[in-house]
Each structure stands twice: as C-alpha cells, then as structure tokens.
C-alpha cells in the first residue's frame, strides 16, 4: 500500500516545560506499569488475559493530557494506557488484574473491562468496536448538557472494519456531536496485517467523506498528538462537529499476553527496532533535566510498588458478590 503523507497540523507543535514533564511522566508511568504487569504475569497472580499497551503509550498520553478532568474517554480492551492517562486509579487497576475486590470492577471484569467512572473513564469491552457508539451516546448527552464537555472514543484499526464504526461516524457528523474518534493503527488485528483486511489504507479519506476533519500522525510523536487534541478539543467545546485522528503505532509485544512473538513470523523484529529507535519515552525523557527525570522515575517506581502491594493485600470477593450487581437496586 502506498503510504499517505501526514495531514499537517496547524500552529505551534511544541509544548512548554511543564507539559513536557507531564507527558514524560505519563509515558514512563504506563510503560513501567505494563512492564511490571508482564513481569508479574508468569507468577499467575494476574487472573486475566492482558493486552499490553507497550509501544502505544503516546496516543493515550497525547490525547488525554489536554482533556478536561470531566471529559469522557472510552478505552478498548487494550486500555491500560488510556485508563492510566485519563487518571484512572493504579491501585484499582492492579487489584482488578489480580481479581481482587479492591479492583476498579471489584475483580469481576479483569484487564479487558477496566472502568473509572469517577474520572469519566468508560468501561472497556472485549468485543471489538462495541464502545465506539457508547462514546457517541455520551457525546450526545454532553452536547445536551451544554457545558462544553467532550468525549473521546479510542479504537484499533481492526475496529474500523465493523459496520458500527461507519454508522457511528455518520451519526456523529449528522448531529455534530462533540466526539474525537482516535484510531490506534498498529497495522495488525491479532496476527493479520492490514493488507489482508483493508481494500485501501486511505482510512482518513474514507472518514472525510462524512465531512469529518481528519488527521494522520504516522511517527507516533506525542507532541503532535497533544497539539491535535488541544486544538480539536477547543473546537468541539464551542460546537464544532466530530474529528478523527489516525495514529500509527507499534505494538511491541504479542497481541495478548506478556511476551514477544516475533518468532511466529507474521511481523519482523526489524520493524520493532525502527519504532524502538523512535521510542517516545526516551525521546521525551531525553529532553528533561536528568535530576528531574530521576525524581519522576523514582516516584513512578514507588507508586507501582504500592499498587502491587495494594493488589496483594486486597481480598478476593466474597461468594455473595457472585450474584451482586446483576440488576441495579
């Protein structure tokens, strides 16, 4: 497939020092949490299939940083990054992975169903594409509310093949709903490459036919993603219709599970190396003064250790939890 050029972003695409530090902290924190999940996984304490975000952190961080605390995000089952970037509680996430009652879904949902309604993080679904229209429903409610809040739907390249994606685009554009569509294009659905799934790779052009402004960022640059979101969110708050972002990214690990699977032969380790050279954690980290970076890193390690301790200490749910929450009381 012929690669398409990026759609140029308007205006300044750098950030101030405070933002840079926040972005670094966000990127590094997700990376380290995911690495810790992968490290713990063989111990069998994590009772849940995990779809790690390692390599895709820049999208969640770049999109969530400019959002208001009361904006709504809808992550996917590959959602640890978006959950954390939007302020989801790390203790609650870790305990959820452990199947403990202190988890964000009381241990009932696991990694694929993280939720943080207090931070306006919608619950994730294990059925691809399912939450796109849910985010749209929130956007409908937010528009009606009239306080300038917006919603963000995250989804993978695979989700764009579902009819519900196009149905959602049409409805969002028709009603000028305040929704940012954010496609994390990592080129694979499980092990199947785009070439076997898409007739053309002109995703942005497809979306643009709904009169939705589209942008493509193919180098994983968190600062560009941040700039796009800042500008787009401002427009949506004052009544502009939905916008669409396609971000290229590389999933460093296997589709589900803690390891790598380059020996399976469906993608090349050389591609990983290219993305690793451009690793946003290191790129942004390199722009931060060493002592500041060391302090950020140390604080992240403490937070992760605390979260693991929290998950270990939290009890499993009692048997009566089995049938609690089938119906709302």
């Amino acid at each position: 497939m012929a690669p398409q050029g990026d759609v140029p972003l308007q205006g300044n695409v750098d950030v101030d020092a405070g933002t840079l530090e926040r972005l670094y902290r966000g990127l590094r924190r997700i990376r380290r949490v995911e690495e810790e999940v992968a490290r713990l996984y063989p111990s069998d304490k994590i009772k849940s299939p995990v779809h790690l975000s390692i390599g895709q952190e820049a999208i969640a961080v770049g999109v969530c940083d400019p959002l208001r605390a009361d904006d709504v995000v809808a992550p996917t089952y590959r959602g640890h990054a978006a959950y954390l970037a939007k302020g989801g509680d790390l203790n609650g996430m870790m305990a959820e992975l452990y199947g403990k009652v202190g988890g964000c879904a009381r241990g009932k949902g696991g990694s694929m169903h993280l939720i943080g309604m207090e931070r306006f993080i919608l619950g994730a679904s294990a059925v691809v594409g399912t939450t796109i229209p849910l985010a749209l429903g929130f956007a409908l409610a937010l528009k009606r509310e009239g306080k300038g809040r917006i919603a963000v739907a995250f989804f993978g390249d695979g989700a764009t093949e579902e009819g519900v994606f196009y149905e959602s685009l049409n409805f969002a554009a028709l009603h000028r709903l305040p929704l940012l569509f954010v496609c994390e294009n990592n080129f694979f659905a499980i092990h199947t490459p785009l070439e076997k799934r898409w007739a053309t790779d002109r995703l942005c052009e497809r979306v643009a036919t709904y009169d939705i402004p589209t942008t493509k960022i193919s180098d994983g640059d968190v600062i560009k993603i941040h700039a796009w979101t800042t500008e787009s969110a401002a427009a949506l708050r004052t009544g502009a219709g939905p916008r669409f972002l396609e971000c290229h990214a590389w999933r460093w690990r296997e589709h589900v599970g803690p390891g790598e699977d380059y020996d399976a032969g469906y993608r090349a380790r050389a591609d990983l190396a290219a993305w690793q050279q451009n690793d946003p954690v290191e790129r942004i980290g390199g722009r931060i003064a060493a002592p500041v970076r060391a302090a950020v890193d140390a604080a992240i390690e403490r937070e992760i250790a605390d979260a693991v301790a929290f998950a270990e200490a939290s009890p499993f749910p009692d048997a009566e939890e089995l049938t609690a929450h089938v119906f709302a009381e």
Partner: protein, 365 residues
C-alpha cells in the same frame, strides 16, 4: 424411533484405534470434506494465521489455497450475510468464530435470513451453512468470552444446533453439518480442544438427533451438554464411590433433539438431572426437562433437577468463577440428593474431586 439409543454403537471400523485431539478431528473433518466437495470453503477471522484457531484450521490454506481458506476483516455481520448468500448460490461455507460471544454480531443474518430463507421463500433456496464457534472458559475469560448461547439458536426454527463433547463426535458432526442442507450452529468448547478420543480415519457422519449413552447406570439419568458431558462422566466416577450408578447421556445435537433416548433412560432410572454449559432460564436444560415430562407425564419421575451457569454474568476472578460453573463435585452432590433425598448430605471428598480431573474419557464412542 424408540430404540434410538442403540445408535450409541461404535461407528468405527475394525481398523486399529487411532486417537486424535478434538482440534485435530475438526481439522481432519474439514480437510476431508474440502477434498471431497469443491463447493466447501472455510473462512473467518484468524483462520489462516499461525495459530489457526487453536490448530483446527492449521495447514488448510496451504493445502486448499487462498480461495477456499481465507481470513476476513472484522465484519461479522456482513461476513455472515456473505456466507448465507454464497450458500444460497450453491457453495457450502464454514464460517468460523473464535468465541461464541461474537455470534451476537451475526444475529440478524442468522435469525432473520439463514433460519428462515428456505421457508419464507417457499423452498426456492437452501442455506447449507456451518457456523463454528467456541465457548471459552477460565483464565479470566470473563463476561464476554465465556458465554454458551446455544439456547438462543435452539429457539429459532430453521437452525440446527450441535455441541459435540469429544473428538469422535466433533469429526462426525462437522462432516454431517457440512453435508446438511440447512444452517448448522456448531458449538465447540475451549476445554474440549485438547481432549483425545478414538477417531476413525475414514470420513463418517454422526447423525443429528441421536443421543449417545456415555455410561450406563440404573439410579439416575444425567444429561450433560458440550463440556458438561465430560464433567458428568467425572461426576459419575465420584458417584460410584457412593454406590450410585449414573447413566450419562450426551445429546450431541440439541436441534434436532433425541428426546426418546433421554426419556427412555429417565423412565427406567426414575430420576433426571440435566447439566448445561449455559444458563438455565429458557435454556436447553429447561427444554429437555419439559419435553421429558410432557412425554412421560409428571408422575413418571421421582426427582428432576437442572444445573448450569449461575444466574449472573461470568466473573473473571477465580474466587467467583469457581462458583459460576457446575463441576464434578457439585454435579455428584446434586445427583446424590436426587437419588437419596432422605440420606444425610453427601459430597465427594476433596481429593477425589480433584482426582476426577485427571480422568480421560477416550471412547471409543
């Protein structure tokens, strides 16, 4: 019709016994049918990747080419329509889904078109379609990767529903499904994939509508559906320690359902327990019990029971998931209560219950 249980006679020829795993049996069934009939093709998400649906489609593309074995976009609704259209056009598609939960995206096409087309168009078209899907369990599969939704399909006239519990029947049922001129919902279970059974090498069709008696007994009839057939065989071992002889029946196909075999057994034992790999409400267990009672009258049986998923969403945490499913110990305990309602409460010793999981049931079936 009344002696249908005799269909349980081994289908295998005199050839030396060959064992296959469930996934290998599925693979062989498709390969043999594709070799026999050029109209057969198989498609669905991930059928051609290196994992090949846990091995059940591995090697098929190399052998039969990309036109007959292919991956699809994530577009279950449309792909189901494609399968139905191709079937009407004279092809014989097998549409594969890695989880039964994803069939919810196919419901409109399956229920409103596949099930009805032959009737609604006065017999002018046929839909010889096989829809394979797998029920997941454990390792945190949770709410949306664990559902046994076969009852939803049983409800709709025009769909056949089969749920083989062992490699022998997996091969035979898949061949029968491919040869059937109707849409067949083919229900697999992830935990059955590694189980072995004697599987004849020659192609053979396991007829739909013939239940299989997996173990004889006079004290109680226990019907086990899909993976629960295996759990019931384990429970049978546990019950034998308490001096109870349970007859275990695997219906194999749910639509059509061999109610004669089940009712005949229940009439003889006087007790019936149906254990489903699904919820009970409006489920296969409700259907089987109701039909047996309609047939035998309400006084024919001393006791009747059902077991299935707890009436809740499947939790990921093992602390709750354990309580969600019937298991050999809880099945044995329930059967004991149905057989000896006045005896002191009994449950198998914990070590025995754990050991039950090491039992392998290899047939020949």
């Amino acid at each position: 019709m009344s002696s249908r249980s005799e269909a349980a006679a081994p289908l295998r020829a005199a050839a030396p016994e060959r064992r296959l795993r469930y996934v290998e049996a599925l693979n062989e069934a498709v390969a043999q049918e594709m070799a026999r009939d050029p109209r057969v093709f198989i498609f669905g998400l991930d059928v051609d990747d290196h994992k090949g649906i846990q091995g059940s489609t591995v090697g098929l593309q190399q052998r039969f080419g990309r036109d007959r074995v292919f991956n699809t976009p994530l577009s279950e609704d449309a792909m189901t329509g494609v399968a139905i259209g191709a079937a009407m056009a004279g092809m014989r598609p097998i549409h594969v889904h890695i989880r039964m939960d994803f069939l919810m995206l196919c419901m409109n096409q399956l229920v409103n078109m596949a099930a009805k087309a032959h009737y609604m168009y006065g017999g002018a078209v046929k839909v010889p379609l096989v829809v394979r899907s797998m029920i997941g369990k454990s390792w945190g599969q949770g709410a949306q990767h664990s559902q046994g939704l076969h009852a939803m399909f049983m409800h709709v006239p025009g769909l056949k529903v089969v749920a083989p519990s062992n490699a022998h029947d997996a091969k035979g049922c898949l061949i029968a499904a491919i040869r059937d001129d109707n849409p067949v919902i083919f229900v697999e279970h992830r935990l059955l994939y590694g189980t072995e059974a004697a599987v004849p090498e020659v192609p053979y069709a396991t007829p739909f509508g013939q239940a299989r008696i997996m173990g004889r007994g006079d004290d109680i009839t226990i019907v086990g559906i899909s993976n629960m057939a295996v759990e019931c065989l384990r429970a049978r071992e546990l019950l034998s320690a308490a001096g109870i002889a349970a007859e275990i029946i695997d219906p194999i196909s749910l639509v059509p359902l061999d109610i004669e075999t089940i009712a005949a057994s229940a009439r003889r034992t006087g007790r019936l327990l149906v254990v489903d790999n699904a919820w009970m409400t409006c489920g296969a267990s409700a259907e089987i019990v109701a039909r047996v009672l309609e047939r035998l009258g309400t006084r024919a049986l001393q006791s009747v029971g059902r077991m299935g998923f707890a009436p809740t969403t499947c939790p990921t945490t093992p602390a709750l998931e354990r309580e969600f499913y019937p298991n050999p110990a809880t099945i044995a305990e329930r059967a004991h209560l149905l057989v000896r309602p006045d005896a002191p409460a009994w449950r198998p010793a914990a070590e025995d219950a754990a050991l039950a999981y090491q039992l392998q049931f290899r047939g020949p079936f």
